[in-house]
């Protein structure tokens, strides 16, 4: 397949200097990606989810270019007092907070940290969960025993309490990296369970025996035969984990356990809570970051379910 000069494919080929075979594989992979994207868009739930997420991700990316005040900028009146907790107006569509900062701007900028924490933490959880699931499912025996008991312990520990204690040990608040790491390290159990269950089923299939018969090593069977069969599950699961991770971060922020310079929706909500926004009638202050959270979580959930349905060959209608 030849790319017309000037096209993206041509550029990529020149750039990566791909061989004939690799290029063909690349084209196939791209085609597959296109198919999946197409299926997601035509899947009602997936389409809605993707739409919601695109909206928030776009906002997060273009935040610096939007005509909104900086999230940390405090508006003051002539006497140098904060224009605190003003009601929604044209100037401040969601009102201002206790320090006279524009809430709309804070919600938009807050999406950055919320999304980054959610995505990074779930990538960590996905990698860990997949490794654990593959190892304990494929080799079984004592490995399975040990890994699954660790999993049980993590499942039965109240992670929130764990995180709060951790925050206390680390000096009262958690930095961004620590938050990502801890959320990631505590949310791999579900992925591991799901992957393990699937591996248990896949490894008994005849094609695994066939691969063994043709002389393939365990590692290559795991990598080339079993992993591709569980990957869709991991993918769909990771998307679902993002929702949970975002919520976890918000919860921690709301409880005041994170470094507030990492502005997230949870931080905005904590400010609102600290200023008794609900009692004082500053509805937008609570509802707007809350809605943002709900929609993003809904978006990830919808996309996750849609992908599960699309990528799972058994659920796919043909």
């Amino acid at each position: 397949m030849a790319f017309p000069s000037g096209s993206l494919g041509y550029w990529l080929r020149r750039r990566l200097g791909m061989s004939e075979v690799r290029r063909e594989k690349f084209v196939l992979a791209m085609k597959r990606l296109n198919e999946i994207l197409d299926a997601v868009i035509h899947h009602r739930m997936g389409g809605i989810g993707l739409g919601i997420l695109s909206f928030f991700v776009t906002l997060a990316i273009i935040a610096p270019f939007l005509p909104i005040p900086a999230p940390q900028y405090s508006f003051t009146d002539g006497q140098g007092r904060y224009l605190a907790t003003v009601d929604p107006s044209w100037e401040h569509p969601f009102g201002t907070d206790q320090n006279g900062r524009d809430i709309l701007s804070r919600v938009i900028w807050g999406s950055r940290i919320s999304l980054v924490v959610g995505l990074m933490a779930s990538v960590i959880a996905a990698v860990l969960g997949t490794l654990v699931g593959l190892i304990s499912g494929y080799w079984g025996g004592w490995r399975d025993e040990v890994l699954m008991r660790v999993n049980d312990i993590l499942l039965s520990l109240p992670w929130l309490a764990l995180l709060i204690v951790l925050a206390q040990i680390l000096g009262g608040t958690l930095s961004l990296n620590v938050i990502i790491l801890t959320i990631g390290l505590t949310s791999w159990n579900f992925t591991a369970r799901v992957v393990r269950a699937q591996v248990l089923s896949v490894r008994e299939r005849v094609f695994v025996e066939r691969a063994k018969a043709s002389g393939a090593s365990s590692l290559s069977i795991l990598r080339k035969h079993i992993f591709p069969n569980v990957f869709p599950l991991v993918f769909a699961n990771t998307i679902l984990t993002v929702a949970v991770a975002i919520l976890s971060e918000s919860t921690l922020a709301f409880l005041g356990k994170v470094d507030i310079t990492n502005l997230s929706w949870g931080v905005v909500l904590e400010d609102a809570f600290g200023s008794s926004a609900a009692i004082n009638g500053h509805w937008a202050w609570i509802i707007m970051p809350g809605l943002a959270l709900v929609f993003v979580i809904l978006g990830f959930s919808l996309l996750g379910y849609a992908l599960d349905e699309i990528l799972n060959p058994k659920l796919r209608e043909r």
């Binding site: 094609f207 066939r210 043909r318």
Partner: protein, 323 residues
């Protein structure tokens, strides 16, 4: 022992350790396969056909082990060969066409990749060389090479079985073990696949071990046949002789239980009872509880294989030479 035998299984014993005891799935089985020959392993479910075949390349479940006997192949004893050496024999020398082609193909991998997998494991080849080989193989089994980048679910049952055969041929093996190759297919496709196997055998000078519970399939394709019962060989000989003049009462029963298309429309006679529990096989001849011709001696004496013709043996006391 003739020097021409390609593979010779000698007093093979394969047992399974289970929670309720040791299952003697294959108990003292011997046969040999000459070059270019095809051997049929026939018998009821659970009589040790597949286990015998899988023992050859030691592809047994975790609880199974070969505990005795020899498998002579090309001057080596496969029964005691190191796992790493055995891996080189697998597929390169002895390949398998698995039962149930749907599950034997990885649903998320393209057919071409799956066929090429075995090639790239055993031979160091450039990827375009493997590609050409895949094309050749598909052509050989009668599939348009244009379809090589399809997924298994885009193929019909018969085509999947053809892909399995192409896969088995990938490394130009000398022996092919076909485990129930036509079992889940309809009769028309069965005929096509069997014809394909026959043609390939002649073209590529292959030897074949065909496992089937369907005697007609074996009668159609095999030169030699081994009828197995309860983990042992009941009768072994040239296919024609075994089917026309069965010597063992079990073989006779099996053949009688086939309806005759020219005969009256009656239910054909069957063999009453069930195959023996291999945890505690009956003493003496394993077939005696179901044998219409059993006599007192059968309950205590385990019959060895008695010669009843050239290369034809039967494990039945009725065939004991009168001394």
């Amino acid at each position: 022992m003739t020097p021409t035998a390609l593979i010779e299984v000698d007093h093979l014993k394969t047992y399974f350790d289970t929670r309720s005891g040791t299952v003697r799935a294959v108990d003292d089985v011997s046969w040999k396969l000459e070059k270019g020959e095809s051997l049929g392993l026939a018998g009821e479910s659970g009589c040790g056909k597949t286990t015998t075949a899988l023992s050859i390349i030691r592809l047994l479940p975790k609880n199974g082990r070969v505990i005795g006997g020899h498998i002579q192949y090309a001057g080596k004893d496969l029964a005691t060969l190191k796992e790493s050496d055995l891996r080189k024999i697998r597929w390169k020398h002895i390949a398998i066409v698995f039962q149930g082609a749907m599950n034997a193909l990885n649903p998320v991998k393209r057919v071409s990749w799956q066929i090429a997998e075995a090639i790239t494991i055993h031979d160091v080849v450039a990827s375009d060389e493997a590609e050409t080989r895949v094309d050749e193989l598909l052509e050989l089994v009668g599939i348009n090479p244009k379809r090589k980048d399809d997924y298994p679910h885009e193929f019909s049952g018969g085509m999947r079985q053809r892909v399995m055969i192409a896969m088995a041929l990938a490394c130009r093996p000398k022996i092919i073990i076909a485990d129930e190759p036509v079992t889940a297919l309809d009769v028309m496709i069965q005929a096509q696949i069997l014809e394909l196997l026959q043609r390939l055998r002649e073209e590529l000078d292959l030897s074949m071990i065909l496992i089937s519970h369907d005697l007609s399939v074996i009668a159609e394709t095999c030169d030699k046949v081994a009828i197995m019962y309860g983990g042992k060989i009941a009768e072994y000989g040239p296919a024609e002789e075994v089917f026309l003049e069965p010597q063992h009462p079990y073989t006779q029963g099996l053949i009688r239980s086939f309806p005759d298309i020219y005969g009256p429309r009656d239910l054909p006679p069957w063999i009453p009872g069930q195959p023996p529990n291999l945890l505690e096989p009956p003493a003496g001849c394993r077939f005696h509880p179901r044998c219409p011709q059993a006599f007192a001696d059968c309950q205590v004496r385990d019959p060895p294989l008695f010669e009843t013709g050239k290369d034809h043996v039967a494990a039945c006391l009725l065939r004991a030479p009168h001394t």
